[in-house]
């Protein structure tokens, strides 16, 4: 269901202001979404003045600096810091992306950081992705074949292999799914761009023998056709992939099969 306004308990209040203590002349204001499950208060926006002279280039560096030097209570996911693990996906400057690959110099004015949109917040910048993972499981993202090969790989031609380019690179960071208005309004039923791209990755794999079943399973008014080509997913993908095109390919396969 479309619900534009946030629920009462989710409305954002003004939070604390952390004044700079370093005396630096090169300051930037960073506004960060905070919610502490221990208090039961509404979420708030805390503002930090950060000394940019001693801060490396990415938004994740900025967050680490705040956590290390200003406020250790702030919670966010991060791991590899090289755009491979997908942990630090969040909403920066009104657009989803990976904090570890997004340069803060690209953001004009104050830096606004929120969790991924339209998720249940677990703490601060950490959203609950369990629905998405369940949906991912539902497309059975593994090779289904009756061939028994024990001593070598399942081979495919170069041509067939190239069909997986632009799909296998997905790191399941959920930037695309949580940028999609259709997924916001129908996230419990619509599979969303991330999961549909994964579904397509297995549908198009020449080694997989379950294509028909996979297509049949995904051919659903809500699961698939809630995609209205808004293209927020492709705009958001930090790996430069194109979930909108993958979804269109599934629709095309269904229309022509």
């Amino acid at each position: 269901m479309v619900q534009i306004n946030l629920p009462k308990k989710s409305e954002i209040k003004k939070g604390y202001y952390y004044k700079d203590k370093t005396g630096s002349k090169n300051l930037r204001k960073v506004n960060i979404y905070r919610w502490d499950p221990a208090t039961g208060d509404n979420p708030r926006i805390d503002t930090y003045e950060v000394d940019m002279d001693n801060c490396p280039s990415k938004v994740l560096d900025l967050l680490n600096k705040i956590k290390n030097e200003i406020d250790p209570s702030i919670a966010y996911r991060r791991s590899c810091a090289h755009g491979v693990c997908g942990s630090c996906a969040m909403n920066m400057d009104g657009k989803n992306g990976l904090a570890c690959t997004k340069p803060h110099a690209e953001i004009k004015g104050e830096i606004n950081i929120y969790p991924l949109p339209h998720l249940k917040v677990l703490k601060d910048l950490i959203g609950d992705l369990s629905t998405l993972y369940k949906q991912y499981e539902s497309v059975q993202p593994w090779l289904k074949t009756t061939k028994k090969i024990d001593d070598s790989e399942h081979l495919q031609s170069k041509d067939d292999r190239s069909k997986l380019d632009g799909l296998y690179e997905c790191i399941m960071c959920a930037c695309c799914s949580t940028s999609c208005p259709s997924y916001w309004w129908n996230g419990d039923k619509y599979l969303g761009p991330a999961v549909l791209l994964q579904a397509y990755r297995w549908i198009i794999d020449s080694r997989d023998e379950d294509r028909k079943e996979r297509l049949k399973k995904v051919a659903d008014e809500l699961k698939l056709y809630r995609c209205h080509t808004i293209m927020n997913c492709t705009n958001a993908c930090p790996k430069g992939l194109n979930p909108a095109k993958a979804i269109a390919e599934i629709k095309k396969m269904l229309a022509t099969s």
């Binding site: 534009i4 946030l6 629920p7 308990k9 989710s10 954002i12 979404y33 919610w35 499950p37 039961g40 509404n42 979420p43 909403n91 400057d93 009104g94 657009k95 606004n112 929120y114 969790p115 991924l116 949109p117 339209h118 998720l119 249940k120 917040v121 677990l122 959203g127 609950d128 940028s179 208005p181 916001w184 209205h228 080509t229 808004i230 293209m231 927020n232 492709t234 705009n235 194109n242 909108a244 095109k245 269109a248 390919e249 629709k251 095309k252 229309a255």
Partner: protein, 126 residues
């Protein structure tokens, strides 16, 4: 989990050309249905009463009437151009980020151009 807040979504998310054209496509679709119903109603009442032509004509020449006509011409041209964009998408073309941005901008600019051209040519057309 029921106590956990919902993270902000449409309140904070940036608009892109593609999302703007997408929502406008829906809105113009609704406008077109309403406007076409009004036009059908107009034709229908023409058959009912002698002076009904005058009533409708007066309305269409008023400020709101002109706003209605220009709005409808824009909404219809927007819908048609955007639909053409959707046809190409259905065939699997135009998903490239740059292409979709350009075609989205073309839909917006094109619909405004068509509106201006049709409205300034209305004397010739009628």
């Amino acid at each position: 989990m029921s106590n956990n807040p919902l993270s902000p979504h449409i309140q904070i998310y940036n608009w892109h050309i593609s999302s703007l054209v997408s929502i406008s496509h829906r809105i113009t679709g609704v406008i077109n249905i309403l406007a076409l119903s009004l036009i059908c109603f107009w034709i229908w009442i023409l058959f009912l009463e002698d002076n009904s032509y005058q009533i409708v004509s007066n309305f269409l020449n008023s400020f709101f009437g002109k706003f209605f006509i220009i709005g409808f011409v824009w909404s219809y041209s927007f819908q048609i151009l955007s639909e053409i964009r959707h046809w190409f998408w259905d065939l699997g073309y135009g998903f490239d980020l740059k292409t979709s941005k350009i075609t989205g901008a073309l839909v917006i600019l094109g619909s405004i151009t068509i509106t201006i051209v049709l409205y300034s040519l209305r004397g010739l057309l009628l």
